[in-house]
């Protein structure tokens, strides 16, 4: 492991902004898609019962 401290880890050798924006956007998109499909299937399920 090459990180001396937590701050060093978040700094990513000066590229922290780019690296964390990339991983954050990926997490947001994938999490958002799961949420969207979840809500869609809940809506479909409600119609299923009625």
């Amino acid at each position: 492991m090459q990180w001396g401290s937590l701050a060093e880890f978040f700094a990513m050798g000066g590229y922290g902004l780019y690296v964390w924006t990339s991983f954050g956007a990926t997490a947001l998109c994938m999490g958002g898609e799961v949420l969207a499909v979840w809500r869609r299937s809940a809506a479909a399920g409600r119609r299923d019962e009625s």
Partner: protein
């Protein structure tokens, strides 16, 4: 083949596929979470800092898997679309419909993370080079296919029209893949290919491949879940499979 023949067509009907998909989703979802956690751990804590690019290179662990998925999913969507057209099979069209949004999402992510990588390494968020431009066209293709489908009310016409568009557009996938070889581009060549040894350290390749398999599992899980929605939504469509009769129309008024 004697006596114990497996009925391959059993699960091709939406009624049988719906519960099967429901049982499979948790397994693919669990595999996706596990692989992505391991991939992130190897990528951030075991893979060393790159000599030339510093830690900016770590964007590769989401960028390359997202870019690969954007192309894989397009080809798979086009195969389902082609099967749907060839066999006139409704479930095939539904699979193509279920895959498109996930493919579009990964295409957007490939472009976005690429931009985040381009700025510190090339000094530009965007350049109109062959690889980037063809990937942007792929995003427009996905959006076009989704919009074309949603703009046609008749389900069978929507299925066929979006399938034709998906099939025609598959020509762009080899263009994206080979763009870094065919044209002189700013984008680097393939880091990992079938024909040559990887040009990266072993742990870097491991992290990238683990993330890629994780994204695969994620795509399967989320596509199956969306397929279930599509099945239910289509069954609820009152107009499906039945011609509107004059008494029906009169009654509706």
């Amino acid at each position: 083949m004697s006596g114990t023949e497996f009925n391959w067509f059993k699960y091709s009907s939406p009624q049988a596929f719906h519960p099967l998909a429901g049982r499979l989703i948790p397994w693919f979802a669990a595999a996706a979470v596990g692989l992505i956690v391991v991939g992130l751990y190897v990528g951030f804590f075991i893979a060393p800092t790159d000599v030339t690019q510093g830690d900016a290179y770590r964007i590769i662990f989401v960028h390359v898997p997202a870019a690969w998925m954007s192309m894989f999913l397009y080809v798979i969507m086009a195969i389902w679309a082609g099967l749907g057209l060839g066999l006139n099979a409704r479930p095939s069209f539904m699979m193509a419909q279920a895959i498109a949004p996930t493919g579009a999402m990964f295409t957007f992510l490939a472009l976005f993370t690429g931009s985040m990588w381009g700025k510190p390494t090339w000094g530009a968020w965007w350049v109109w080079d062959a690889r980037l431009t063809s990937e942007l066209i792929l995003l427009f293709q996905y959006i076009g296919i989704i919009l074309l489908r949603s703009s046609i009310d008749d389900l069978r016409r929507a299925d066929r029209a979006s399938a034709v568009l998906a099939l025609v557009g598959v020509i762009n996938v080899p263009i994206i893949y080979f763009s870094v070889r065919w044209w002189n581009t700013l984008h680097q060549g393939a880091s990992v290919s079938i024909t040559a040894a990887p040009t990266m350290a072993g742990t870097m390749v491991t992290a990238m491949l683990v993330m890629m398999v994780g994204f695969w599992m994620y795509s399967i899980a989320v596509t199956l879940a969306r397929m279930r929605c599509v099945i239910v939504e289509r069954e609820r469509q009152p107009s499906w499979g039945k011609q509107a009769s004059i008494p029906d129309v009169a009654e509706a008024r």
